[in-house]
């Protein structure tokens, strides 16, 4: 957690050779500064706690409590209490008006896992997130490789490729919904002209392809910038040594840069899954509303529909709890990423 990707931003525009050597110097510089302030060189006092400044304002719970209060109150009201209520509701059975509530142990979960709708939702989410992940990471890797090779026009390319980050998922969805709208969409017309009967409003596969494309289009920029930054940190001496040994640019990328980027790729995979699971809600809602016939009804959309449209609170809460466990796993995986980063030192 305490090690950071120390990539000097100032150097990204500098010429190639200077850039890499400059990177090393300032990396060492920040490392030394951080080390000094973390008291690693000095004798740790017995009462020194993790993450506490050596020069601190001492004891007295009054002021820190006051400082923490806003954050903790908001967490209490909008985070801990709702999460607890979700846990409670998931083991209760109530009618839509909440007049009749029963304690049913794990019946909600049992019904949920037995229902074909939920299983379909799991399958859809699986294919959607995996396809989105492969597409996003694959294109980001290719683009990052190309960006790292060239010098001229680099910042222009980067600016354009980063643009989708600014665009709301809902708007990205709307743009793609128009492009592939079977009646008016220009790209759908091209597909029809080629002879493909494209209609995401009727064909489940087409709908899934459409939302996957929109979701990936929106997210490539995120993976891309992390990979570009990661590539800048690959030591140029390693690359030169490999070149002397006769390795071509692609071989060097695959055998040297990619393994060194391993932790970043791992982190991005986790982030892509989180994005696919949760943040794509807006794309689904704006483009397909989970249809046709539940073909794009991903898990988080189903929580919303069951909770707010079908008013099946018990089932919705049970789904929330399952999703929470998934998010928990993702966070733990992220922890692992931080550990790895220490080992590799990238």
């Amino acid at each position: 957690m305490t090690l950071r990707l120390s990539i000097p931003w100032r150097d990204t525009r500098a010429p190639v050779l200077q850039r890499r050597h400059g990177g090393h110097q300032s990396k060492a510089g920040t490392g030394a500064a951080a080390g000094g302030s973390r008291t690693s060189g000095k004798v740790r006092r017995r009462e020194q706690e993790a993450g506490l400044k050596r020069a601190n304002f001492g004891d007295g719970p009054g002021l820190p409590t006051l400082l923490l209060l806003p954050q903790l109150l908001i967490l209490l009201f909008f985070f801990f209490i709702p999460s607890l209520r979700a846990l409670m509701q998931s083991v209760l059975l109530s009618d839509p008006f909440g007049t009749n509530v029963q304690f049913v142990w794990f019946d909600n979960f049992k019904t949920l896992l037995a229902s074909s709708d939920y299983r379909q939702s799991i399958t859809v989410t699986f294919w959607f997130t995996v396809a989105q992940n492969v597409l996003t990471l694959g294109s980001a890797l290719v683009l990052a490789f190309a960006t790292d090779r060239i010098v001229r026009g680099r910042s222009a390319y980067r600016t354009i490729i980063l643009l989708p980050y600014a665009i709301a998922p809902a708007i990205a969805g709307i743009l793609w919904a128009f492009l592939f709208n079977p009646a008016v969409g220009p790209l759908a017309q091209v597909l029809h002209w080629v002879g493909i009967a494209w209609d995401p409003n009727l064909n489940p596969t087409d709908a899934l392809i459409l939302v996957t494309l929109a979701a990936s289009w929106k997210h490539v920029c995120y993976d891309y910038i992390f990979l570009v930054v990661g590539l800048l940190a690959v030591p140029v001496s390693l690359m030169e040594a490999a070149a002397v040994d006769g390795a071509g640019p692609i071989r060097r990328f695959v055998s040297i840069a990619l393994p060194m980027l391993g932790p970043t790729v791992f982190f991005l995979t986790v982030m892509n899954f989180i994005y696919g699971f949760f943040e794509t809600f807006a794309i689904i809602d704006a483009v397909t509303k989970g249809g046709p016939a539940g073909a794009t009804n991903i898990l988080v959309y189903k929580v919303f529909v069951d909770g707010f449209v079908n008013l099946d609170l018990g089932s919705s809460a049970a789904q929330s709890v399952l999703l929470m466990s998934f998010a928990l796993i993702c966070t733990l995986l992220q922890f692992r990423y931080f550990d790895r980063k220490v080992n590799y030192g990238v």
Partner: protein, 306 residues
Amino acid sequence: MVERSPILNMVCHAILIAGALTVCVPLYFAFVAGSLTVTEVQKVPLPWLPGNQFFDNLQLAWSKGNFSRTFANSIVVALGITAGKIVVSLLSAFAITYFRFRYRMLAFWLIFVSLMLPIEVRIVPTFEAVANAALPLQSLADILHLADLWGWISGHDVAITLEWNMVNTYPGLILPLIASATATFLFRQFFLTVPDELCEAAKLDGASPLHFFWSILLPLSVPNMVALAIILFLFGWNQYLWPLLFTTDKDMATAVIALKGLIPRSDSEPAWNIAMSGALLTMLPPALVVLLLQRWFIKGLIDSSK
């Protein structure tokens, strides 16, 4: 680079041009559609060159989407979330790095846990919490039989019903999104790299903790705050699920939600030209932020993901 290879360089440029085109095609067609009339936009095939209705459509979209109101809402919400998150996390990061107190680690972990659950997975209970923020107090009152107690003391029969409905209010749109583990960590990490000597010198000079925070720590944190503010502004502007649930009143909707109302549904006139103009309008503010403040934006993006 290590060796010269003009062919590979050409291939790389081709790849990047293809990537840039993929980004631009949807935007270009949004612009084309946004510049056509309703009849032109339904033609098969769609014209691939822009028409001359661009500004008329923009005006129409502006009024149809109630954008003069919803843009203001979006700005208030986005800035509110940005400012709120930064203030709240600066304060708590200061507390957990510069003070030694009994439940310091507990507070740290409580904040950290919130990282694990995005708002999407606990939609229903969070909605309930904000629809009536007084709900926990109500249950507390019920459990303690406060009503009976008060009735016994005062001799009158009373019923305690607490309600604090935040639907269709700015606090309701902003507050649930303000707690931020990532921002807190960002500032915590930064505070840990601030030289100890600064704090010691401030203490020698007799500065109070808050004085030190305000005059030394805050000015030092400005670059981090700016970078983070950009990411948070985009986050706030692009919110979808929460405003969707939270704004039943059209005048409280945000721009993104208002835009959703412009998308043609199967039973309405396919006014894609207006929808696309609206989409361009709505994405303009965040796009400008990313284009103009790119360096800060990249720093914020990388920093806030640690």
